[in-house]
């Protein structure tokens, strides 16, 4: 078990390093002069400065060194918790992240809980109902759920619940009420994925011999579904929760922009608009870290929840 644990953590760290490296090389290797971007971000033109000043600025920001030298320096400092300086805001990226992260964590956390409730609830209902037309309609519903653009859903919810009914504030990041609409918007695509997988899971489980045995024992349909159906059908959901973290983070960028919430997603959007490369790199690195961490937890929970696979579980 200890070896599995060490191997799994090592793999997670390797993936994280790979993600950081790929993002770094995408951002710094592709065309675009970093210094020119930095200057235009602070409202200056690169052409208006003398070559000596440009060279001095390059030396100051360490841009005159080799690509790999810069990379190792950046990586070394990132490992020590220093993610560099924002180009447009002139503040340490770590401070910016620390300020914005709680907002996004609250949003993502509530969204994950809501998506699980919604997805499992829908699939459970679909499996329990026996009236054909309704069952078919509910089976089609998840497919609609992930066909809807997140930002459009957000606008629709604002229109109906904020402007139409006036139940929740349309924008802002104060208090719990302002968290409800964004979280629901963010939860819908993930809930659709959970519901679809669980619906298929129920279809598969329903054919199993132990279900027939449970019915033969004299259990009611509701009891069979709750005790024997759900627990077996729900296992694949665990892996899926880990994989959905990426979608949740992606969705958070859109949702925070629509609902004008001061979270990490909006920080990323603004950073890209201002071409603030250190901030973009930091946000991507942090979200990759979140993905890796959640998947690590899921993998470590798996053998405990499903002893059948024990620690021969292969992570692919």
């Amino acid at each position: 078990m200890k070896r599995y644990l060490i191997g799994r953590v090592g793999q997670a760290l390797l993936v994280l390093w790979g993600a950081y490296t790929i993002t770094y090389f995408i951002l710094y290797l592709l065309p675009g002069d970093t210094l020119a971007i930095m200057l235009s971000a602070s409202g200056m033109e690169a052409d208006g400065l003398s070559p000596e000043d440009l060279a001095k600025a390059r030396a100051y920001y360490g841009l005159d060194r080799g690509l790999f030298e810069q990379y190792f320096d950046l990586l070394w400092r990132a490992v020590h918790g220093d993610l560099g300086q924002s180009l447009s805001l002139g503040r340490p990226v770590t401070a910016l992240l620390a300020e914005r992260l709680p907002q996004t964590l609250a949003l993502a956390g509530l969204a994950i809980v809501l998506s699980l409730l919604g997805g499992v609830g829908l699939a459970y209902l679909t499996a329990y109902l026996q009236w054909r037309p309704l069952k078919t309609a509910l089976t089609r519903l998840p497919s609609l759920g992930f066909s809807v653009p997140v930002f459009w859903m957000g606008l629709l919810l604002i229109q109906v619940f904020a402007f139409g009914l006036g139940w929740f504030p349309a924008t802002g990041s104060q208090g719990f009420a302002s968290l409800v609409l964004p979280a629901v918007t963010l939860a819908i695509p993930s809930a659709a994925v959970y519901a679809q997988v669980l619906q298929r899971g129920f279809q598969g489980v329903w054919q199993e011999p132990y279900i027939a045995t449970a019915f033969a024992k004299g259990l009611s349909r509701a009891q069979v579904q709750a005790r024997h159906g759900l627990r077996n059908a729900a296992l694949p959901l665990l892996t899926l929760i880990g994989l959905q973290v990426g979608n949740t983070v992606s969705g958070a960028v859109l949702v925070e922009t629509i609902f004008s919430r001061n979270g990490v997603g909006r920080l990323a959007q603004e950073a890209v608009l201002r071409q603030d490369i250190p901030v973009v790199l930091a946000v991507v690195a942090v979200s990759a870290a979140a993905f890796v961490l959640v998947n690590l937890i899921v993998d470590l929970l798996y053998p405990w929840l499903d002893p059948r696979i024990a620690h021969t579980a292969k992570v692919s």
């Binding site: 790979g18 592709l30 609609l144 459009w152």
Partner: protein
């Protein structure tokens, strides 16, 4: 000998036609016919074809000009003349959605093409080569999967600039890992089948085996994934345009249309909601087609 011939022609008035291999077209027809009998499938196909037609020849579907402003009837509600209403400059929204299909569908097609090329390349290489190369490529795919799609796209867009083509490239790179995994799994499955072995024993080179025997049989799941990802690419490009990294505002593009309509959400909700509904219809239809094809194949 002469009698033989006479007997043959006299006795067989209608000779039994020789067995012929079904043509590609016939096989396609026989595969699709049961699907077309389902109303849902036909409807979804119609919506997708409408979107494709709009991308190719938008002027056939609308008589208005997409950029012609008429301030007199700005922000008018949907009616018989203006099916989706008009926007803040009096431009007909239905027309703009139809013309917007060109940019959006092209961007999505480009993204899927990039993903297909990259994903098929990595998947086939990993599945065929095996060993260390396979392990290395799959670790690369793991790393790409760990980067949330939209954020990876944002990083690429930061580096190569804004606009429809950069956004399409960024979205395409984001869906490569999925394709690579599916292709690799299929290649690994097919590689062990008897007909591949037979082709190799018959003297076919690896390349020929790959192109003639493995790829045509690996195509099914990859095509289903491509259809699904076409819808996902439409959503992703629309999302990036919505954030302001795609086509600049005067251009008619689905994401940009929805984004510019959100400022009038209180007074004229249709300006952003109806174009969005159209996008939902197209993506839902694509998903439905992919799912029906998948269920049919099973």
């Amino acid at each position: 000998m002469t009698t033989d011939i006479r007997l043959y022609t006299a006795g067989d008035a209608a000779p039994v036609p020789a067995w012929k291999r079904r043509t590609r077209w016939q096989r396609l027809q026989q595969a699709v016919a049961p699907l077309l009998r389902r109303p849902g499938f036909s409807l979804a196909l119609l919506v997708v074809l409408f979107a494709l037609l709009a991308a190719l020849a938008p002027h056939w579907l609308s008589s208005f000009a997409p950029y012609a402003t008429s301030p007199a009837d700005k922000l008018s509600a949907p009616s018989a003349v203006h099916w989706f209403g008009t926007d803040e400059l009096g431009r007909d929204l239905y027309t703009r959605v139809v013309y917007g299909a060109r940019l959006s569908v092209q961007a999505a097609l480009l993204a899927v093409a990039i993903a297909l090329l990259g994903g098929l390349g990595i998947g086939v290489l990993a599945g065929f080569a095996g060993g260390r190369l396979d392990a290395a490529l799959m670790r690369l795919v793991d790393v790409l999967l760990a980067l949330p799609g939209l954020l990876l796209a944002l990083a690429i867009v930061t580096a190569i600039g804004f606009g429809t083509v950069p956004v399409a490239i960024a979205v395409g790179v984001g869906i490569i890992p999925g394709f690579a995994r599916t292709t690799r799994a299929e290649v690994l499955r097919i590689k062990t089948l008897p007909y591949v072995e037979a082709a190799r024993l018959g003297g076919a080179s690896w390349l020929r085996t790959l192109l003639r025997h493995v790829l045509p049989n690996a195509w099914g799941p990859v095509a289903v994934l491509a259809t699904l990802d076409f819808g996902a690419a439409i959503l992703a490009t629309a999302g990036l345009s919505f954030l302001g990294f795609g086509a600049a505002p005067p251009a008619a593009e689905w994401g940009t249309l929805i984004a510019s309509g959100r400022h009038f959400l209180i007074t004229a909700p249709w300006v952003s909601l109806l174009p969005g509904l159209f996008v939902v219809a197209v993506v839902f239809s694509l998903n439905h087609l992919a799912r029906s094809a998948e269920e049919h194949a099973r």
